[in-house]
C-alpha cells in the first residue's frame, strides 16, 4: 500500500506545540538513544543480568536453612558432579563399550577435523580467533559424537544431553525433509493449493501442551482411534510409553507435527521466488525434474533453508513441553530433555545443579548453532551470491 495521501507531504503532521515543547524537544533531539534504550535495557535486565547471576548460581551450592537460604560458593563442584560424579548417569548417561567399527569411525572423524584445522591454518585466511573457534567446534562436536556412540552401545543408556541432541538433530532433519517436500508439492500450479497451504499451517498455532495430550489420546492402545488396528496386530499388552525408544519417537513425532508447518510456510515462500523463466527454459531443454531442482531451485532457496534450519535448531534445544506432558520424562529418564532436567533439579531445590545443567545447555546450543551458522549457513549463502 502507498503512503496515506494526507501524510505524504508532511503538512498533516502536527508540529510540536508549545505546551510540552521542552520535553518533546529533548526527546526528539535524543531520538537516537530514546528509541533503542528500552530494548537494550530490557535485555540487559532480563537476559544478561540473569545470565551472570545464573553463572554464579551454577558455581555455588544452594540450601534451604531455617528462616531463609544458604548460598555457598563451591567452584566447579556442580559441573564435576554432573560430568564425573553422582549425576553423571543423568546428564551424560551410562557408558557402554565401543565396538571396533566405532573406534574406526571416531578415528575418521578426528582425522577429518585435524585435516580441516590444518587446511585452515595453512590457507591464507588464518587468524587466531578463527582458529580458536574452529578448535572449539571440532572438540565439542567430536566429544558429542563420542558420547553418543558410548551411550547407545550394549550396557549404555543415554542421559539428557544425548536425548536432547537426538530431539534436535533427528527432529530438525525430519521437519526439514517433510516441510520441504510439502512445499515443493504445494508450489506446483495446481488448483486448491491455497487451501492446502492454510490447512498445513494450523499445527503451528496449537498449544504444545494440547498437542502432547492429543497425541497421548491418539496413541492410547485401548481407547485411541487406532485401537482396533493395534488389537488386530496383537499389540494389546505393550505400551509405547514403557519402551525408551518408542517413547522418544513419540516425543519426536509430536514436536515434528507442530513444527513442520514453520519449515513448510517459509520454504514455500522461498520456492515462489525461484525464477520461473529459468525453470521453463530448462524444461524446454529437456532437463528432468531432479536436475531442475538441483541446479535451479536448490541454489535459490539454500540460504533460506539454512536460516530456517538454524532457527529451528535454536528453538529445538529448548524443548520441554512434549517430554514433560507426553511421557513425563519417562520411562525413567529416557525422554528427559536438558530443560526438563534443569526444571526437575529446580523443583527439588537443587538450584546449583539446575543452573549448571542450564549452562551446559547454553554451551552446547551456542557451539552447535554458531558452528552451523559459520561453517554451513554462511557457505551456502556465499555460494549463492558468488
Amino acid at each position: 500500500m502507498g503512503p496515506p495521501a494526507g501524510v505524504a507531504g508532511g503538512r498533516e503532521i502536527r508540529r510540536p506545540k508549545g505546551r510540552s515543547s521542552g520535553m518533546s524537544l529533548w526527546v526528539d533531539r535524543n531520538a537516537q538513544n530514546v528509541l533503542i534504550l528500552p530494548a537494550v535495557l530490557m535485555i540487559l535486565a532480563f537476559s544478561i543480568f540473569p545470565l551472570l547471576m545464573s553463572l554464579y548460581l551454577s558455581l555455588s551450592r544452594f540450601r534451604l536453612v531455617k528462616g531463609g537460604y544458604d548460598l555457598r560458593f563451591v567452584g566447579l563442584r556442580n559441573f564435576k558432579k554432573l560430568v564425573l560424579g553422582s549425576e553423571q548417569y543423568h546428564l551424560l548417561g551410562t557408558f557402554g563399550q565401543l565396538t571396533f567399527w566405532e573406534w574406526g569411525l571416531m578415528a575418521l572423524v578426528v582425522g577429518f577435523f585435524a585435516h580441516w584445522l590444518y587446511r585452515f591454518a595453512t590457507s591464507g585466511r588464518f587468524w587466531i580467533f578463527g582458529f580458536i573457534g574452529r578448535v572449539v567446534t571440532a572438540v565439542v562436536l567430536t566429544g558429542l559424537l563420542l558420547l553418543c556412540l558410548l551411550v547407545i552401545n550394549q550396557g549404555g543408556f543415554p542421559g539428557t544431553l544425548v536425548v536432547t541432541m537426538f530431539y534436535v538433530l533427528a527432529g530438525v532433519a525430519v521437519q526439514f525433509t517433510i516441510g520441504l517436500s510439502l512445499a515443493v508439492l504445494c508450489a506446483q500450479p495446481i488448483p486448491f493449493r491455497n487451501w492446502f497451504r492454510l490447512i498445513f499451517f494450523v499445527p503451528m498455532m496449537v498449544t504444545p501442551v494440547g498437542i502432547a495430550y492429543a497425541f497421548r489420546m491418539l496413541t492410547d492402545l485401548s481407547i485411541g482411534p487406532f485401537a482396533p488396528i493395534w488389537r488386530a496386530l496383537g499389540f494389546t499388552n505393550v505400551s509405547w510409553a514403557a519402551d525408551p525408544w518408542s517413547a522418544r519417537m513419540m516425543v519426536l513425532t509430536g514436536e515434528s507435527w507442530q513444527w513442520i508447518p514453520f519449515m513448510f510456510i517459509v520454504l514455500l515462500a522461498a520456492l515462489e521466488n525461484v525464477p520461473r523463466e529459468q525453470v521453463e527454459s530448462a524444461k524446454l531443454d529437456g532437463a528432468g525434474e531432479w536436475r531442475i531442482f538441483r541446479d535451479i531451485t536448490w541454489p535459490t532457496i539454500a540460504p533460506v533453508a539454512a536460516t530456517v534450519v538454524l532457527i529451528r535448531m535454536i528453538e529445538a534445544f529448548k524443548i520441554i513441553d512434549f517430554p514433560n506432558i507426553l511421557t513425563n520424562g519417562g520411562p525413567g529418564i529416557a525422554t528427559e530433555s536438558l530443560t526438563l532436567h534443569a526444571f526437575i533439579a529446580w523443583r527439588t531445590q537443587d538450584l546449583g545443579i539446575s543452573a549448571a545443567v542450564g549452562y551446559t545447555l547454553l554451551f552446547v546450543t551456542a557451539v552447535t548453532c554458531v558452528s552451523f551458522f559459520n561453517f554451513v549457513g554462511r557457505r551456502l549463502r556465499e555460494r549463492t551470491e558468488g
Partner: protein
C-alpha cells in the same frame, strides 16, 4: 514407435505442455497433499469430538463419528464453563491479558529498536561494553556473595561505570557497529529460558511480583524482543528514505515520522510479527511454570494440570484445548495474507 499401443499410458504419464503436470503426477501430488491434510486435521478432529463425548463414550473404546457412533453431548462443556466457572475463566482471562500486553509491548519496543538500527549509526566503544559487563558481574557478586543490598550495589556499579566512561574509557578506540548490536540482540534467542528464569524468579520474588500479570508480561516481552527486532528491521530497511526526509524538512519530529509515516507502511510486517509473537506468548509453558502458581496461572498450565488428580479426563481436557486453539486460528485467519511474507522477509535476509 509403438505410439498407438501405448497411447493411453503415455497420455497418463506425460504432461500436455511444459507448464502443466501429467495426470498421474497430479494424482500423486493430490494423494500426498490429502494424506498430509489428514495427518494435520485428524488429531484436531479427534480432540473436537472427544470434547463432545460422555466419559462412557471415551472409555468404551474408540467411537469415530458423532450422531452415528454416539450422541454428542455438551456435558464436558457445561462442566468446564458452569461448574468450574471461575477456575476456567480466570486462567483464560490471564492468558488473554498476558499474551495481548506482552505482544503489544514487544512489538512496540522491538519496532522502535529495529527502526533505530536501520536509521541511525551507533558506534559504542568496545571497551565500554566490556567494562559494563564486568561491572555488572561485580554487582551480581556483591549482591549475592557479599550480601550487599541490591540497590546499593547497583548504585556502586553505575558510579564505577560512569567513572570508567569519563576517564579510562576515552583511551580505547575500537568501536562496535549496528550489525554487532543487532547480532547481540538476536543472539539472545539462543539463551535457553531455563538459564535465565532462575534469577528472574528470584528477582520477582524480591520485588514481590511473583505470580502477577506484570511478571509474565515483562518476561514474555523480553523473550520475544529479539524476534521482533529481527523481523521488523528488514521491513523498515525496505522503506525508502526520501519519504522521511521530506517530512523532516516540514518540521515533523522523529516520533511523528515513526508513528505517522513508517508504521502505516510497515503494517504487513507488524501484522505478521504480532501474530507470531502472540502465538508464542499464548502457548508459552516453561516460564509460566516457574513464574506463576495460582493468581496468574495461564491456560497451558491449566491444561497441563488436568492430568494430576484422577487420571486424564480426556473430555474436559479436550474442551480446554479447543477453547485454546480457536482464538488463535481466528486471528490467523484474519491475518493470514501477511504471514508468509512477514516470516519470509526476516528469514531471507536474517
Amino acid at each position: 514407435m509403438n505410439g498407438k499401443r501405448n497411447g493411453s499410458l503415455r497420455r497418463l504419464l506425460e504432461p500436455k505442455d511444459v507448464n502443466s503436470m501429467s495426470p498421474a503426477g497430479k494424482m500423486v501430488t493430490y494423494g500426498l497433499l490429502a494424506f498430509w491434510a489428514a495427518v494435520v486435521l485428524f488429531p484436531l478432529y479427534w480432540v473436537l469430538i472427544t470434547s463432545l463425548k460422555l466419559p462412557i463414550h471415551v472409555n468404551d473404546g474408540p467411537l469415530y463419528i458423532p450422531f452415528i457412533d454416539f450422541m454428542p453431548s455438551l456435558h464436558a462443556w457445561e462442566y468446564i464453563f458452569f461448574e468450574l466457572g471461575n477456575d476456567t475463566l480466570r486462567p483464560y482471562l490471564n492468558s488473554i491479558v498476558i499474551a495481548f500486553f506482552s505482544t503489544v509491548l514487544a512489538v512496540g519496543i522491538g519496532s522502535m529498536a529495529a527502526y533505530a538500527l536501520v536509521r541511525f549509526q551507533y558506534r559504542p566503544r568496545f571497551a565500554s561494553v566490556i567494562a559494563f559487563l564486568l561491572i555488572l558481574a561485580v554487582v551480581v557478586w556483591m549482591t549475592i556473595a557479599v550480601d550487599l543490598h541490591w540497590s546499593l550495589s547497583v548504585a556502586i556499579g553505575l558510579a564505577l561505570f560512569f567513572l570508567f566512561l569519563n576517564t579510562l574509557g576515552k583511551r580505547f578506540q575500537t568501536r562496535v557497529g549496528n550489525d554487532d548490536i543487532l547480532f547481540w540482540i538476536i543472539s539472545q534467542r539462543i539463551l535457553p529460558p531455563v538459564v535465565a528464569v532462575l534469577p528472574i524468579y528470584v528477582m520477582f520474588q524480591q520485588m514481590r511480583l511473583l505470580d502477577t500479570h506484570i511478571a509474565l508480561i515483562v518476561t514474555y516481552m523480553t523473550v520475544n524482543l529479539p524476534i521482533v527486532v529481527w523481523l521488523m528491521r528488514d521491513f523498515f530497511a525496505s522503506i525508502p528514505m526520501d519519504l522521511e526526509e521530506s517530512a523532516q524538512i516540514d518540521g515533523a519530529s522523529r516520533f511523528q515520522i515513526l508513528l505517522g509515516i513508517i508504521m502505516p507502511l510497515a503494517k504487513p510486517g507488524l501484522a505478521a510479527t504480532s501474530l507470531f509473537v502472540l502465538i508464542l506468548s499464548w502457548n508459552e509453558y516453561l516460564l509460566a511454570l516457574f513464574l506463576s502458581t495460582a493468581d496468574a496461572q495461564t491456560m497451558p498450565l491449566l491444561v497441563a494440570a488436568q492430568n494430576a488428580t484422577r487420571g486424564p479426563q480426556w473430555w474436559y481436557m479436550s474442551v480446554l484445548i479447543v477453547i485454546m486453539i480457536v482464538p488463535v486460528i481466528v486471528m490467523a485467519g484474519i491475518l493470514q495474507r501477511f504471514i508468509a511474507r512477514g516470516l519470509l522477509i526476516g528469514a531471507v535476509k536474517g
